[in-house]
């Protein structure tokens, strides 16, 4: 997909003829559709569409014409098929961060990393190896609200499209999340069955699970809940100690996080209530 592609994203109540009207507008403006996905959700009556177009885009004119053919309650926007800007937040673990830094360095992921914010110093060295700005904002000796405010301020100063929680281990308040709706991506271990509470890998070990997994999701309420973007699993067996399960878990976390981020970066993810529509 060349860089001149513009992505049109539409969400609106479903009704007869939306695709016809929108694509007629695009055609009238000599825009050629090179990608097209739509989904009409029978449950909610909502319509979703993502299309990539090539051709000279007179955005104001096209947006005016599209607005005219969409039903009341529609939202839509064009996004340039350009690299997104992200801020990464970490605590101590480096496995998810490292994979992102490396892909960024080798130009294997379409994003610019504006900076890495850590509440511990552990990830500083790795971040700086790749010449990415490091911001240490410790939570020590201050209230949570104050700590979060410092982070919010720094994020706003940097101005990212998305905030990537690469094993940031503090629970974010609803106030923090409300600042960046549907723009915070988290990675969470997950198991069959799932385990609540401390040390899930120990619990998984005790239960003798045979697969362990990870879930990349949007943060819109609790840290470990929220609309799911991507999931995967890996096999373990009785000979895996709790530590080895945790190591296997880190590998699957890393891969799932990166896959989930890639989907978000390409504007393939719509969020509705606690659910995603992912045009993979």
């Amino acid at each position: 997909m060349s860089s001149e592609v513009n992505i049109l994203l539409i969400e609106c109540p479903d009704e007869l003829g939306i695709i016809a009207r929108v694509t007629t507008v695009l055609t009238n403006h000599k825009l050629n559709m090179v990608e097209f996905h739509e989904f009409a959700d029978e449950e909610t009556g909502q319509f979703y569409m993502r299309t990539g177009v090539t051709g000279k885009l007179d955005r104001i004119a096209v947006e005016k014409d599209i607005a005219a053919v969409l039903p009341t309650g529609a939202s839509f926007r064009f996004v340039n098929n350009i690299r997104k800007k992200v801020v990464i937040m970490v605590t101590k673990e480096t496995h998810c961060l490292g994979d992102l830094l490396l892909r960024h360095y080798t130009n294997n992921i379409d994003m610019d990393i504006l900076g890495v914010i850590g509440n511990h110093p552990d990830c500083k060295e790795l971040t700086e190896k790749f010449d990415i700005p490091w911001f240490e904002i410790s939570h020590k000796g201050i209230e949570r609200a104050e700590h979060e405010n410092l982070i919010i301020q720094k994020i706003k100063e940097l101005g990212p499209d998305y905030i990537l929680l690469a094993k940031f281990m503090r629970i974010l308040s609803p106030e923090f999340v409300a600042e960046f709706p549907n723009r915070i991506i988290n990675i969470h271990h997950s198991f069959l069955p799932s385990f609540i509470g401390a040390n899930p890998y120990r619990q998984a070990y005790n239960r003798g699970v045979k697969i362990i997994g990870a879930t990349a999701h949007i943060v819109n309420n609790d840290l470990d809940e929220g609309p799911i973007i991507y999931q995967d699993v890996t096999r373990v067996d009785h000979s895996h100690s709790a530590v080895e399960m945790s190591r296997a878990g880190r590998d699957v976390e890393k891969n799932v996080f990166t896959e989930g981020i890639k989907l978000v970066l390409k504007d393939r993810v719509f969020v509705k209530n606690n659910r995603t529509i992912v045009f993979a």
Copy 2:
């Protein structure tokens, strides 16, 4: 997807505005699109589209209008979203046949089995357990052309949409294949690396492969080549004997064959040259 869905399939040279024009026709006829896939192949300049529509279909009128908006060289057709009719061909092995018969019996696959044709008697009993007509057409004592003619005659008499080679172990002549273009589905073992010649499981064993696979494909020339519909693999290791590899291979063959058939039955597969476009 309810049974009143009609599927529109289009293949034509790509040009600006096809989607807009076609969807406008559909909307004018009060047809609501509930599924939509398209692909514009930059390599070949060919455009493919599959859409499922609900609403009262005045087929003659709609087809006339669609024909009027498509470029020269276009082919298109409506297919009812109904159960397809198939004939299954077998030799001795029952694993692929059995899975199809069982899914058919439990109403877990959208096809009617008009009959099973075998060149050996081995699959007769299983077929008849499920009250499916069995036709034994032995190749013994007759020339290949004569044998194939007997099969062609029987197939034409039965009138299926597709012919499923569920481990039919004789090579089909180009003449046979030409009778049913893009309508014969085969299942073939496959390996990394691939092995030519007799006893591939023995070769795979000798080479110590760690995964073995299977490929479901359209037959349009050689028995084991042709446009690929679906593939999958399974893990093996040094402790698998050649016989056990073969057993593991049968399980993956069975699953891949069924998945490939499901895609064909739902008209999700376009064929162009030696390649498929699969709207999964």
Copy 3:
């Protein structure tokens, strides 16, 4: 593995030299080890061993010598590498039952099916197609204890090694389970995250999960808990309705159940507390 293989299974407290002493006994009796797995669980201090031996087995003499070299608290037994006997229990769904019947018919699973017990008539026809005895024991109009007693009586009359719950949808009482300790195998859907309560596929749909799974496990307490034997998952997306998720779930249930049963039939599964050691 030829039919003359005998499997020796040992479980005992771990201590120095067990393998040496046991294998020396086997060698003294001219028994050749063709398979060997062991696991010393550091957590529990328990030792597990499974070895397949060929050669003429004077069982009484060998067992006497092995008993003499094992620590106090050891349990061990020889099992012939023969087909196990099973009874299958069902309610209405046929997908797991059908796969077992088909594999049994095509000699693709090493077990004899002594009979199928159903509390509804739905699976009768399929069972009888394969000439397997069908026993309908309805729960209607009787107390649970009485119903379970009728089933227990029938199972004891048939005398299986294992009881396979192929979508038997009634919760078994602790009394029932206590009759067949570690001999009841169940299949259970499972999800990331997991869902408690009614209609898990609907809950999974609402949550927008991207993979759904299944777990084969030993029943030793609750119906859907117990030591895990085998697990696997399959991918779904937003376009899967709750019904389609359920269909995808049935396929993964079927495959996981069969894989789990195969492991049990080959005596590869040890149970300790709520955990398994699986020598796959």
Copy 4:
């Protein structure tokens, strides 16, 4: 597994009683087996064993006793369960190298990287970010034999246990390979079906394959053949351009290479003829 574990590796003609005799020697020396794998290959009559032992190892005494109980033609050795030393060879691509450097930095792989040898300068910067010695040995202007000799000299100077070809794109001569028998690990793309010759991703695209894979293998003759250690695949479809297939291929190459290396580093891989026995 703690660092005091020693691994005993045995390969010899199979005969009755080997396990008993060897484990008796180990027990007599108060060595406790914490891991144990064996395989008797019926095809070749060869016996393989890998066991991890804890306890004070008087290596000379134990080796003498083990030698005394093994049949003629046996080879065996103890390896400390310590980090192996490796040299990595690269050409231009960074995806496999980067993953190894990152895992090394985060202490997530048990090896020391003595240096990276490149015949192009492309990987210099990434290597030096991680403070690993970089050696550029260009092939320009010199004969292949001379170039290989320079590399051999450098490798011998560094003294690694293994040489990892992380996308080293030059074919190694039999003379080079003979210098390091069974000690060179390579990563190779692989496909179903497999493609010979230039630009395999283009060929795979033209053929419309639905999965692409990678193979980690020992180099003992041709660059892209040799005993297979580990394999895996990833899914692609018609919408993947040849370039995107290549990108997906790089991810699977990276993961497969790392998994294969981990198996080698833990001495889990035996090589016999063109086949491996992998005690995973």
